[in-house]
Subunit: 343 residues, 3 copies
């Protein structure tokens, strides 16, 4: 990890303020950067640390540049610039191809020469691997799974029967793709399971977080579009479709047959009901319950924010009376203004 | 997957409208069904697709039958009928018995001839297996676990020491049954762990979802009743009991020592406090917090639903003032009506 | 498990009421205890069971002692006393050292003689083990992980590259420590991943629950302080720091770069936003969303509690009108009192 400020500026298309020959040998936060480090300022919260940073250079906006105590790279979106700079400075993931002797591979599987299969990983009959696939330790790949070029499965990933993964997709440890959907009918109190006849189709350049679960479809396939990024412990139900380039933060739940648009952002711990549709370019803030379709782009929210427990206790008592209080208010208003009140 | 409409009608006890000799060769949704397919109409949301379906036959209610453009199977509960039809048309899960050479089985374990143990699975000392048990790849079965007849553990399941699983139960990938409970006492700021002396007892015909966790009891056993269906990423704390045939959707959390009745339905992402009791036949809608016991059957809800962020911001500010506003309203009403106001 | 009441009293520093020579041979709840059992009364909810308990002795407070039908151990904090008694009566976890032949250990790893490595566990190059480490079956330990003395990893744990675990720490099954953080920048709609350059540093005496995920830092390390206890299915984002002795219940989510103080307690299913700070000694009750920093110790809450669905439906409709209703109320008050109203 070493480049001149000028080289980095060229790589990320930024304007250099200061010495373009300055050698950058690491990256760090504003607070912890030392001599030789490149840092960035994107979130206003961290502005107070700009004046005292020990970094040799800061990626920031034109607006903040005059206040920068060091060399600077000026760019419209400093966070994007920083991400590009780190990617430029750090080598991508790499591996030595080969099949570990402790892998268990069905004789029907052809492993391309430039793939890696880790110890303890199990590839069942009919698994199809494209070139440059990396399968880490302890993965279980069920029959007839298809994995696209340069896709990487880290440790302990489970891919169930018939699932298709695109190219350059990354699956983090403990993720389970293709378990049965939670579809069942009730007969006289007892539950009768609907067999899952569909699979999961995952696009290119997707990322699936640790311990996330994506269920297979019941009649059709569950579909994850290209460029979708899914954080840890997300649950995606059967038959769900996620449009391209949508980002889903940790612990979100999306119930069966929901259809999520493209370019959406779903905040952590939100829950989306089954069978509804979310339009393209919708932003849902964290911890929101969404029980009806959202038809137009925009920002949507639900949930309350934490307050002092004593105040909260009083307010939730009042919430239980809210409809009654509202009716009282409307009556009172009518009495004062002389309007006839509708029930 | 192939049967005549008449055969399917007999299997699910429905009335045929149209040609009973019609050959059904697949199942699909209303929108995607083609010639030869059977489909169904149960959710009103999908009614608009009925008129244009290309299916050869539709399972639906008597009320919708007159509007069906194809042959039909008329039945009181179309979804139940469809689930039965799919089960009739698709063979159940099957496997070739045997022990994979890459399984690691303690010499004390007797594996019945009709069981399957997958590669990488580890069975510790004293594990007891009934006939027809299927243990997929990469499972860890700790000492003295008991597994009932025809129970199936899919990939990467962890069953901790002393846990008992009933018959025909299915455990999906990544589930962990029998980890220690989160019981501890505080001594001068530091936490002292309560050893878990109980186990988990899982009944017959239970289903446990992917990456779900069920903790062992501390003094007694955690108990999951017969026919209970648990979706993915559910957390069930120590000492909890779940009554028979209760269904629990994804990402629900049930805290320690709660007692859930029979025939309950708990919506996704709900959270149930510790030490409380939920009666039989209670329905809790999604994303609800339940902090007090529920003593009578019925439908219970909490939580807010997502709205436009600008409106939501205004409303949550008002929520913080709710008790104050309610007091103001009561004073105002009293002033108008001349009543003396109680504090 | 057998000791006299007097021995237990000495071990937990309690006062004996009754026969100190009484032999205790087991522990149980008030309701289920039998002759020879020790039990406890700490939660008022269980007081009605005191009179009818069949236990031979009860650990309880001085206030409850007069109502105890059996021998008693009187102590200020009966739950703490009971935890200490159970720990005194039950042997700690123990194991026979050794390396299972089905473990896969890189030649560069030195395994101390008193460690245990289970079947199917994989230790990559450069893993450093202190004495008395226990690694259960099916764990994946990535390159250059460091594990402290007497730390225990149960089944199927994944520890990613460069993570450091302290001493006497316990990691439960399915936990993933050190997966990549969910940091990325958006470029013309598509997401660009920020490489994770940091690791996770876990302190001494920490407990991490089943299927919990703790992401590695992006620029700095994610840090879990000494004595922190984390329940199942908790998600801890990149760069988060958790202060010593904080307890985090199941399904909590803590977003990236949040800083949690010491001695905090975070109730189950709560969600904490990124980049905020929580002071020491803060208690957050279950299912609370925390989106702003909390600067002073105390109890904080959010969320609603479940009510009858019909009432709830009316109230959430009113919640959407809350700001409008509040404005109406203020106008009405002004009209009555003759004050001029500010918009």
């Amino acid at each position: 990890m070493s480049a001149t400020l000028g080289e980095i500026a060229a790589a990320i298309t930024a304007e250099v303020i200061g010495d373009a020959e300055l050698l950058i040998e690491g990256v760090a936060t504003l607070q912890n950067a030392a001599k030789g480090h490149l840092t960035f300022l994107a979130n206003r919260r961290y502005y107070p640390h700009l004046a005292s940073t020990s970094a040799s250079a800061v990626i920031l906006s034109a607006q903040d540049a005059p206040h920068c105590p060091s060399a600077a790279l000026v760019i419209g979106d400093p966070y994007l610039g920083f991400v590009k700079a780190v990617r430029y400075l750090t080598p991508g993931p790499d591996f030595t191809p080969g099949v570990h002797p402790a892998a268990v591979i069905d004789p029907s599987v052809r492993v391309p020469e430039d793939c890696y299969i880790g110890p303890g990983s199990i590839l069942a009959a009919g698994v199809s691997l494209s070139p440059q696939v990396y399968i880490g330790p302890g993965c279980c790949i069920d029959p007839h799974v298809t994995i696209g070029t340069a896709t990487r499965l880290l440790a302990h990933v489970v891919i169930a029967q018939g699932v298709v993964l695109g190219e350059r997709t990354i699956i983090h440890p403990g993720a389970v793709i293709g378990a049965d959907g939670f579809g069942m009918a009730n007969e006289a109190g007892a539950w009768l399971k609907l067999p899952s006849l569909g699979a999961v189709i995952v696009g290119d350049d997707v990322e699936v977080g640790a311990n996330t679960t994506i269920d297979r479809g019941t009649l059709e396939n569950t579909r994850i579009g290209d460029g979708v990024k899914i954080d840890n412990q997300v649950q995606i139900g059967h038959n769900v479709t996620i449009g391209a380039h949508t980002a889903i933060a940790a612990q979100v739940g999306i119930a069966g047959s929901a259809r999520i648009g493209k370019y959406c952002m779903i905040g952590g711990a939100s829950a989306i009901s089954g069978h509804i549709q979310i339009a393209d370019n919708v932003i849902i803030t964290g911890m929101s319950g969404v029980s009806n379709s959202i038809k137009t782009a925009g920002v949507y929210s639900a949930g309350l924010v934490a307050t002092d427990n004593t105040l909260w206790r009083k307010n939730i008592v009042r919430f239980k009376q809210l409809d009654k209080l509202a009716r009282k208010l409307i009556l009172l208003e009518a009495a004062m203004t002389g309007h006839k009140v509708q029930d």
